[in-house]
Symmetry: C2
Subunit: 150 residues, 2 copies
């Protein structure tokens, strides 16, 4: 497994172990991880710290040119918010663990010329399945969907 994707997956596992939504991400520039993170809805009560957003935030302030030479890895297909952040900073490549659990705004990424690679990684699917089975409402909340249970 690609070591960068492996670290994104490790971040997802870390979030799962914390009781959080198991989505992780890393931002890679020039062969180095410059930011990594995971979803923090449960852990911090955050509505904006999806995995990708947390990785970007943890990378800190970067020159525009850095983003434009970077790749972002994420274990799950990026939602519209994370897609928008990728477009804002002009990140040219996104490597996605899986898009079966949730298909994000991949079309919008492609329309803007972003290279999108989907790995179809079963471990990512299994982690999400394990979380969603126990916490369907929290997952619906994370993607702005009304829970059928409410």
């Amino acid at each position: 497994m690609d070591s960068f994707f492996e670290e994104a997956l490790n971040q997802a596992k870390k979030s799962f172990q914390e009781g959080g939504i198991p989505i992780g991400s890393v931002l890679v520039h020039n062969g180095q991880i410059i930011g990594k993170g995971h979803n923090r809805r449960i852990q911090q009560g955050s509505v904006i710290l999806h995995g990708e957003m947390d990785a970007l935030e943890n990378a800190g302030r970067q020159d525009a040119a850095i983003y434009k030479q970077s790749t972002i890895y994420t274990t799950l297909s990026p939602c519209p918010m994370c897609t928008g952040a990728i477009l804002l900073y002009g990140i040219p490549k996104v490597v996605i663990g899986e898009n079966k659990t949730f298909l994000g705004a991949e079309d919008l990424l492609k329309q803007h010329g972003v290279e999108v690679v989907v790995l179809d990684n079963q471990e990512c699917v299994d982690l999400m399945d394990a979380f969603i089975q126990k916490n369907p409402e929290e997952w619906n909340e994370d993607i702005g969907e009304e829970s059928s249970k409410k």
Copy 2:
């Protein structure tokens, strides 16, 4: 002036007084402000806390149904990231102070059926002008553009 927009403008002024990028936002549900905030790039070194994102974050975890009955006010046209957050949560209406300094992804909002109101407020333009004249590099960084000075 609409009191909700006035509070978004107050948030922008607060950010300006702190030395930050003068963009403010409020999230309004059922006639009440449930979240307010402003850009925090300079103040907190944040690359994701644009005004709208800060207002959403400060509103905290909300049921999906709440967002779908809310309006977000922002002093400046929302960038792709903030637009994506608005789409993720299904906020149906965006009131924008101005879009002369920066035209965000308003077309994408409209394509998704979001009502977009632009106030053409001169005070918002003047605040941004005052900031950008003194800090062109910080502003370029905030919108992912390479500075001509570098």
